[in-house]
């Protein structure tokens, strides 16, 4: 059950016609009725099906691959192996450590080795079984400890520093001095486990080469532009000979943010066979492709004055990266860089090390890189509040960083509604009457957080705009918006329609959005880092304002008035000073077309570059045009006989600047809270760590359990059902930021972060047990209760 919560002083009237109205997504009925066309719904004549042969070893050298028996099977059209696509790639251009199909080594159970295109999936599967791969099995390293302790056993031979993929050490101010001067130092060790995205739609890709040699790739991706670039690089064909189309996508959450083996495989096999080739993952392959939340091992020391001011934060983290870099360079920076608000840190130091291991690669999951350290710091604050006998909300208020300011790591903060978020959840949850006052077994916890609205710098170096939008008007009163944006269900196409409709005076249904087709749309970088509303929204606003100006000018000419006297709203051009004078919007568009010719415009958005980030190395990573803020309060009950935690309620207030579509913002808040709740209480992307027999001897022959996924189905990877989900109470706080379109900031990821520590802080309030190693399990609660009784912690 869900219910919205509202600030007491929420304004009644709206200054806009479409912006802020309680509309839904115009395309949502298609998804509900089963009419939306996902990649797997597309079938082309003569289409072949591809399957990928995957490694049964966590770490092995490939000695030879014999595909002859597969090729001989009837119905097989082509087989492809790694040497045919030797170019290494990676979504981050500085760390190209992946190959479409492994040629020299396999690095996790499930690494792709070869692929077959055949008349059916069954034949392709049968052919895969006939491919003979000779491996030299190597010692698998499935924990960061093992990988760091064995630098000579390199998972990537070309890596400079053993198995370390990235280390970031940054310091701001005198951390040691401030820790020494602090009245209270809280020291804690935290473990954040791995989790994955769980999007409903498995990855799928379809490729086809037409008579002119144009390669078209349809793919379930959330970054069509990066896919486009990497396809060109790996397939060695120029980008203008490739068209990337993203059909309807059934959820991404970060799990479709980079190229995957199946996209290269489908494209290469289409090129080899001259036929369309489709490749669809099984659910297990989705778990293997992963790129989910990195497991973090964190050690934090935080110094406070006796009145609760944060003097120093000192964090050390080890990130379990899995077999490839993915976005890991960014993750490693984010693990420290995004912690600098909403609180003032007197001094700050972090040291984060990302390590290769023989497991599915980790990457970006909703709240990329910053959900884990946020957990640690917010629990640290809760511990400090207890020790200092200060209300945890009050302690957070005392450290509030403010608006139009800079963080200690020199990021520019614009609008900031964090205090309003705290106040909203404090009131809605009845915090003052309940926190630390409920009967044993029931408790409340609070936590706060911040997130970026996109990053100031693109992941490849360029001065090109981050977003481009093209708009055309036509004689029927329709508005057509062309944008490279990637709607993965979050509603980016709706957002564009809202912005265009607001400016051009039409209804939401009058706007047709054509998105994510590289032949038809200007480039947008994609749906990651919560960038789309701010960036593509601004680009769309620019393009729409340009056209609206021309329409008003043409109408003004007809009426013999000034352009400023004409407004466009509610399918009308309206004379501002005389309500009796108006034209149907279609007439207005026609007047403009007569005056100016075919009505089209473009708009683009480039991020601010001056004075928004630090000048130190890495000072641009994590810098954003605008930051969102969030506060959560969780209410839990703990069953002390079973150790089971039931999360009863979660209140979440989120400052998204301006809610262009409040219903969608509430949906993002609820979805984020649900996801964070799931990974706190039950979800765990767990890879079996040990190949050792119980007597300590390593198994001498054959493969072992090491590196196998413990949960490779949606039955065993337990995501909460509606019966498990707490009551969610979403609240929108609007602190418009001048950098966002109509003041809008992000809403898609921020509302996840502080769910996790809010639940853990509530558990402590309920029963006095701290769970600093996630996920929360009944066994950990029982162990904590036992320690309590025996005078332990």
């Amino acid at each position: 059950m869900t219910a919205a919560i509202k600030p007491e002083n929420a304004s009644q009237g709206r200054p806009y016609a479409v912006v802020g109205a309680r509309h839904g997504k115009p395309d949502s009925l298609d998804a509900l009725a089963g009419l939306a066309k996902y990649t797997d719904d597309i079938a082309l004549p003569r289409m072949l099906h591809a399957k990928i042969l995957r490694s049964p070893h966590a770490h092995a050298r490939i000695l030879s691959i014999d595909t002859s028996a597969a090729e001989a099977l009837e119905g097989v059209y082509a087989v492809v192996v790694g040497e045919e696509m030797p170019t290494r790639y990676g979504v981050i251009p500085w760390t190209p450590d992946e190959q479409a199909l492994a040629a020299d080594k396999v690095r996790y159970v499930g690494d792709a080795v070869a692929a077959v295109a055949a008349i059916s999936e069954d034949v392709a599967l049968a052919a895969c079984k006939r491919i003979v791969v000779a491996y030299e099995v190597l010692e698998p390293l499935t924990t960061p400890e093992a990988a760091l302790a064995n630098p000579q056993n390199k998972i990537h031979e070309s890596n400079k520093h053993g198995n370390i993929t990235k280390q970031v050490q940054l310091a701001f101010g005198d951390v040691d001095g401030q820790l020494a001067a602090a009245d209270l130092v809280i020291e804690g060790h935290y473990e954040f486990h791995g989790s994955t995205h769980g999007a409903l739609e498995p990855h799928c890709s379809l490729a086809h080469v037409d008579g002119r040699g144009l390669l078209t790739v349809w793919s379930a991706t959330q970054v069509p532009h990066y896919l486009h670039r990497e396809l060109a690089k790996v397939l060695e064909i120029p980008t203008h000979k490739i068209r990337v189309i993203q059909p309807a996508v059934g959820g991404g959450f970060g799990g479709k943010s980079e190229p995957f083996d199946l996209e290269f495989v489908a494209a290469k096999l289409a090129m080899k066979t001259g036929r369309p080739v489709k490749c669809l993952y099984t659910r297990e392959e989705v778990f293997l492709a992963h790129r989910g939340r990195h497991p973090f091992d964190m050690h934090y020391r935080t110094g406070f004055t006796k009145d609760g001011k944060i003097l120093a934060v000192d964090g050390k983290s080890v990130l379990d990266g899995g077999a490839y870099s993915s976005f890991g360079l960014v993750t490693t920076y984010y693990s420290g860089q995004l912690l600098g608000s909403p609180y003032v840190f007197g001094s700050y130091r972090f040291d984060s090390t990302r390590v290769y291991t023989n497991k599915p690669a980790c990457g970006p999951k909703r709240g990329h890189g910053s959900v884990q350290p946020r957990f640690a710091i917010e629990v640290q604050l809760d511990k400090a509040a207890r020790a200092l006998k200060i209300d945890p909300i009050e302690l957070r208020r005392r450290n509030f960083i403010g608006e139009n300011t800079k963080t200690i790591n020199e990021f520019h903060i614009g609008s900031n509604g964090f205090l309003e978020c705290l106040a909203l959840v404090e009131t809605a949850s009845d915090w003052k009457a309940k926190h630390a006052k409920l009967p044993r077994g029931r408790g409340l916890g609070v936590a706060g957080s911040t997130y970026i609205s996109g990053t100031n710098y693109c992941i490849y170096p360029t001065d090109l705009p981050q977003s481009g939008v093209q708009i055309c008007l036509d004689r029927s009163g329709r508005v057509r918006v062309f944008a490279g944006t990637s709607d993965i269900g979050q509603g980016s196409s709706t957002m564009l329609a809202v912005v265009a409709a607001e400016e051009l005076g039409v209804h939401l249904d009058d706007v047709r959005v054509v998105a994510a087709d590289s032949d038809l749309c200007p480039v947008d970088l994609g749906s990651y880092s919560s960038r789309v509303t701010l960036m593509a929204g601004n680009a769309c606003l620019n393009a729409a304002r340009d056209l609206a100006g021309k329409v008003r000018q043409a109408v003004a000419k007809k009426w013999g008035c000034e352009k400023r006297d004409v407004i466009l709203a509610d399918r009308r051009a309206q004379r501002l000073d005389d309500p009796g004078v108006w034209l149907d919007i279609t007439e207005a568009f026609i007047l403009a077309e007569i005056e100016f010719g075919t009505m089209g415009s473009t708009g683009s958005y480039q991020t601010p570059r001056e004075d928004v980030h630090g000048e130190y190395r890495g000072g641009t990573i994590g810098a954003s045009p605008a930051y969102s803020f969030t506060a959560h309060i969780a209410e839990v009950s703990v069953d002390e006989e079973t150790g089971e935690v039931r999360v009863e309620n979660i209140w979440c207030a989120h400052d998204c600047g301006r809610a262009l579509s409040p219903v969608l913002v509430e949906g993002q808040i609820e979805g984020s809270v649900y996801m964070g709740f799931g990974e706190t209480i039950m979800e765990h992307h767990h890879v079996m760590p040990s190949g050792l027999k119980t007597d300590g001897q390593r198994r001498d022959t054959g493969p072992g359990k090491e590196g196998l996924l413990a949960h490779s189905s949606l039955l065993d990877y337990r995501m909460p059902t509606t019966l498990d989900t707490p009551d969610l109470h979403a609240g929108i706080v609007e602190k418009p930021d001048p950098r966002g379109p109509f003041g809008a900031k992000e809403a898609g990821e921020g509302p996840l972060h502080s769910v996790v520590p809010a639940i853990c802080n509530a558990i402590f309030d309920a029963c006095g047990v701290r769970v600093d190693a996630l996920p929360v399990t009944p066994a950990k609660i029982l162990a904590g209760l036992r320690a309590q009784r025996t005078g332990g912690v």
Binding site: P56, E641, R789
Partner: protein, 334 residues
């Protein structure tokens, strides 16, 4: 998506036709009655057969009948029907509850009582894809020679995961089986063997026709309790039925039936506790008894030590619910 290997579906209209088909194709045959367990297992190539005999059109396998002494439930009765049937709810509430806790509404719409009784055993090392099992090197149930649950173990210990079985045993249910050789009857308590590769003592030629359950006297109280991480979808991680026979306000007999251990349920009788008063002490005593005599294994995917602790709590709570105490103790447990 996972591919389903080709098979021939037989849809007999009579029991004779069905048993002849089974005899003709055994052992390369299974009865399909809902298919919510069988088809996924076939997709994972864990079950490999090419003939399926449908129970859907066999009249004898449908319907719930109440007589003076028994409730007879056709094996192809749907789980949703079973969970909502007024006679079952009135006379066999623990069975109705067990059926209502199986999987999800969609699966209960498809799944049947006979299907649930015959549900294959489950283990983290077998309910996996072929790639996964190949990477593991197989196990006793899948092309291998090694048990990963019990190192050095010679028999498969995959877990009985059928929610209905513990309460059926507690109620003293008997199954009726048909084959081309005729009918036979067997108590559900004797239907299972300690072999996870084929744990049901039902031959491939046999068809489960019906379950007959004696109507319990008013002095008999049965409760089923299931624990899984989620409130829906999941197979049981802890599965217990408790039966208390009461006479003159004290315990006169009964049993505790524990599922989700190995391939066979553990049945513990309560003779030693006859004469006990119906109170928290009895709840604690039964909890201790299962702790001592039933041990969850690291076969299904959850911490076995916790499952053991949880099993005890669920037994206590079952007893409390049967003797009119609040389910949770009023003060925190010592």
């Amino acid at each position: 998506m996972l591919r389903l290997s080709p098979f021939t579906l037989h849809q007999p209209k009579t029991l004779d036709e069905a048993t002849q088909l089974l005899a003709q194709h055994a052992p390369d045959v299974r009865v399909i009655s809902g298919g919510t367990d069988l088809l996924p297992n076939m997709k994972l190539a864990q079950t490999k057969v090419t003939h399926l005999v449908s129970a859907k059109f066999l009249e004898e396998l449908h319907g719930i009948e109440r007589t003076e002494t028994h409730v007879r439930i056709g094996a192809a009765t749907g789980l949703k029907t079973l969970a909502e049937d007024p006679d079952v709810l009135e006379l066999l509430p623990a069975l109705a509850y067990a059926a209502s806790r199986i999987a999800s509404p969609q699966i209960r719409n498809m799944g049947t009582l006979g299907g649930n009784i015959s549900l294959d055993t489950r283990c983290r090392y077998i309910n996996q894809s072929e790639l996964w099992r190949e990477a593991l090197g197989g196990c006793l149930k899948s092309h291998g020679t090694e048990c990963h649950v019990v190192p050095g173990g010679q028999g498969c210990v995959a877990a009985l995961s059928a929610d209905t079985v513990p309460s059926l045993i507690a109620y003293g249910a008997v199954v009726e089986l048909a084959s081309d050789k005729g009918l036979r009857r067997a108590p559900v308590s004797e239907l299972f063997q300690q072999d996870g590769t084929w744990h049901v003592r039902i031959a491939r030629e046999e068809l489960l026709v019906a379950v007959e359950i004696p109507i319990p006297s008013p002095q008999t109280r049965v409760a089923y309790r299931k624990w899984a991480v989620r409130q829906s979808i999941d197979f049981p991680l802890v599965s217990v039925a408790v039966r208390l026979d009461v006479a003159d306000g004290v315990l006169a007999g009964g049993s505790v039936v524990v599922g989700a251990l190995g391939p066979r349920p553990r049945v513990l009788t309560l003779e030693r506790l006859v004469g006990s008063t119906l109170d928290e002490k009895l709840a604690q005593a039964l909890g201790q008894m299962v702790y001592d005599r039933a041990r969850p294994l690291p076969n299904i995917p959850y911490d076995a030590e916790y499952r053991r602790e949880r099993m005890v709590v669920e037994v206590r709570r079952a007893v409390r619910s049967l003797v009119g105490l609040p389910e949770r103790p009023l003060t925190p447990q010592a």
